[in-house]
Symmetry: C2
Subunit: 241 residues, 2 copies
Amino acid sequence: MVVIGDAYGQAMTAAFRGDPRGIASVERSDGRLMLDIGIDYLAPARRWVPEERAAIRLAKGRVLDVGCGAGRVALHLQERDHEVVAIDVSPGAVALSRERGVRDARELAASQVRTADGPFDTIVMYGNNLGLLRDARHARWLLRRFARATTHGALLLGGTLDPYRTEDPSHLAYQAENRRRGRMSGQIRMRIRFNDLASPWFDYLFVSKDELVSLVQGTGWRLADTIDDGSAQYVAVLERA
Amino acid sequence: MVVIGDAYGQAMTAAFRGDPRGIASVERSDGRLMLDIGIDYLAPARRWVPEERAAIRLAKGRVLDVGCGAGRVALHLQERDHEVVAIDVSPGAVALSRERGVRDARELAASQVRTADGPFDTIVMYGNNLGLLRDARHARWLLRRFARATTHGALLLGGTLDPYRTEDPSHLAYQAENRRRGRMSGQIRMRIRFNDLASPWFDYLFVSKDELVSLVQGTGWRLADTIDDGSAQYVAVLERA
């Protein structure tokens, strides 16, 4: 029986305990299954993708780590004497982050971050977690909310990938169907699967740089820079205007 | 959209091409997803599980390799001058086996092996492929059929695992439900998933040594030996009576 639960946290925890099967699967709403192995949740910074390694050097001051997973970003920044608040909706992820040494890990969704949790000088959304913007409408709402919890000149480092940089017919068909339904091309309805566990379904948003420029308009943020190594994956650097 | 197709062959082919996501998932009929990483389909014999490495030394004469996958067993035996007929229902697996050097790879199900394909001195069912016995009834039918395609004193080397050697509540519940429905405990209804592809549903049988002893009665085979290293996984050595 498939049980709705913390698939993601359990997969990461299994990986941390040394289980080679500790890999979550992403189930897209059209049924496509994809292994969640793009990111090594336990990797130290030297094994991150180049754009994440490069962009993390921009982090300053007090940091909010959104979707902290097993705590790789928080641990890296703590070592560099940043005060870090690490949040994740997954209880397993939060427990694992704490076990691995993250000092302030909280079970909290991005959408639950309050002004009082701030002010933050940097928000990090790594491991494609800029996807937590969900859709165009939620993105604007969330970015405004984040703006209120940040200092002037704060940075948001958001990892994502350009959904148009694929030739996979299945991805292209999914994107076309999205557009037909008035959704953004890179809006993926998905859930995480691991053994008997399935997360609830949720939307996750991949955006091109052009889409991001227009998405952030009027939210208190501007796209200051993008950092990539030529692949579809990139880190967007948003600056609080 | 999920397409019924050669999920298994495509996963193996992707792995062979160097794609780290080239791993199939097994979907059990209760919805549980499991990564198919117990067997490295491309591994040379020195990296096989110990019981497979030990038992393959028993192979003699002309060999039928059932469920050859990417050809690891056939390649190993060819190198040792055995004549090998390698069969698999997966077109991708057969193509990959040929590409990797298997001289006689055929797209054929275990149940389609005819007396005229023989006679074989050894039948190898590695990578848990004793599971292709499917269920108690089909097992007896298939073993009799295999007996007719083999020489006197022929050996069948069948890899499986003892389904009772688990404490996983989800596996135990599945087994209990099997027994309630008159199926053998270790009878798994499953399909293979890879990206957009799903194989048809099929039954796969895991058996304890005791179950195997009674299963082979009257089929022309006897359980001559079992080889294991203490784990749930073992190789059954059946001898043609």
